[in-house]
């Protein structure tokens, strides 16, 4: 049971460690490949522009695939894919589970970040620019703190989903909490292990919820 808990917690922690920064990187790429809204008339053939278009397409396809197909399918893909596509054997279950979870949650986090960033009015950027802030000062001092406040509630939801989603790692036989409980249940012909697993997820999510409540309260000092 305890090793199952440890594995579930590890999936949760490592997924966040990957997806939180990587999601921001995806948004940065998305913003950097934005085409200007006014089409510039003197638009000669430019490699940069096509590179941008291609990158933009890749980001879009990635986001659609990750959010548009079941995480369970993605787990299978990352675990069996290396063998069926490249004939590579012996992919580590746990590592592949982390890859799948990481890439999947990166997509969801990227969407949340994007929503947060786009909700900041252009006036904030212009005010910062007029006051002489550099681009990076503007982002880190003016934009990011406001984004964090706005994305805290949706992030809370996403964290809670992740806690429950860790149980999916079982489909590639990662011995996480739910897997361990299911095996114990069938071994002892008892439902107690399932109850214990349920309690485990509930406790974890109440900790997550408390954490986010506290964070939201801390950010209530302004509107």
């Amino acid at each position: 049971m305890f090793s199952g808990m440890g594995t579930s917690l590890a999936i949760f922690g490592l997924t966040l460690a990957i997806a939180l920064p990587l999601g921001l990187a995806v948004v940065a790429l998305q913003q950097a490949t934005k085409l200007p809204d006014v089409s510039i008339p003197h638009g000669r053939f430019s490699i940069r522009k096509y590179l941008k278009l291609i990158l933009r397409f890749i980001v879009r396809a990635y986001l659609l695939i990750m959010r548009g197909t079941p995480l369970m399918l993605q787990l299978f893909f990352f675990y069996f894919g290396p063998y069926y596509i490249f004939g590579i054997r012996g992919a580590d279950r746990f590592v592949m589970a982390i890859v799948a979870f990481g890439l999947n949650y990166t997509a969801y986090f990227a969407e949340i970040y994007r929503g947060g960033i786009e909700s900041i009015s252009i006036g904030q950027y212009e005010a910062a620019e007029a006051l002489g802030f550099t681009k990076s000062q503007t982002f880190f001092k003016i934009i990011l703190p406001q984004v964090i406040k706005r994305i805290t509630p949706p992030m809370g939801n996403e964290f809670m989903s992740l806690v429950k989603d860790t149980a999916l790692a079982r489909v590639i036989a990662v011995a996480e909490m739910f897997d361990v409980a299911a095996k114990a249940a069938s071994g002892s012909a008892s439902t107690i292990p399932f109850v214990m697993a349920g309690v485990f997820y509930l406790i974890m999510n109440s900790v997550v919820e408390q954490g986010f409540k506290r964070a939201e309260r801390k950010l209530e000092y302004y509107k």
């Binding site: 006036g123 620019e129 406001q146």
Partner: protein, 257 residues
Amino acid sequence: MKTNEILTVNNIRKSFGSNLVLNDISLTVSKGEALAVIGPSGSGKSTLLRCINQFETIDSGEILVDGEPMVTTNSDNAPVYADKAALRKIRLKIGLVFQNFNLFPHYSVLRNLTEAPVSVLNIPKGDAEAIAYGLLDKMGLSEKAEAFPYQLSGGQQQRVSIARAMALSPEILFFDEPTSALDPELTGEVLKIIRSLADEKMTMVIVTHEMAFARDVADSVIFMDSGVVVERGSPEEVFGSAREERTRQFLERYTRG
């Protein structure tokens, strides 16, 4: 060139697509002068301010700030902007007050005033705060230093935003309809502040629909229509005996409401 010219705009043009928004605009602002810019909606007033404040690029013409070229035009009639460092230097000589304040909501009033001086001009925090308190005192907002923008009325927010721009000691301050987002009963307190800045000979360009205020406070008035400066004169000239028919029509329509 006269040394007391803070802003020189020569023959600038600016189009958005096929819409020619600024059509050969020229104007100058001297040190200590308060210039009011009036004109109907869509005449290009905001665009003019945005071009001078580096939010839009011009198609041709030149802009000089405090004698330093911000943008000039080459022999092919294409604009040539100064290098990054020069543009930045010019930016810091210019202050801008927005119609809808654009205060930083996550900073206290005091921090709204000190953040740019500290992190842009590297002024020690203590000095920046002393300057900020001085400005807040002038704005009648001393007791609001610790407040957050959402706790202030629109008029108070706009006064903070004026103080925020002043905290960088700009050579010239631009206002784009500073009272248009305010309830009528709150415009007075903001106009009073701008008037006091005029009394102190702060160089200002004020886009406004407040004709009585423009008449009262400005040293000179520009009437813009369809991207051109139709006429420029003293408030008495423009409001009392405008030379151009278009100006008279606008003012008549305006005073009739």
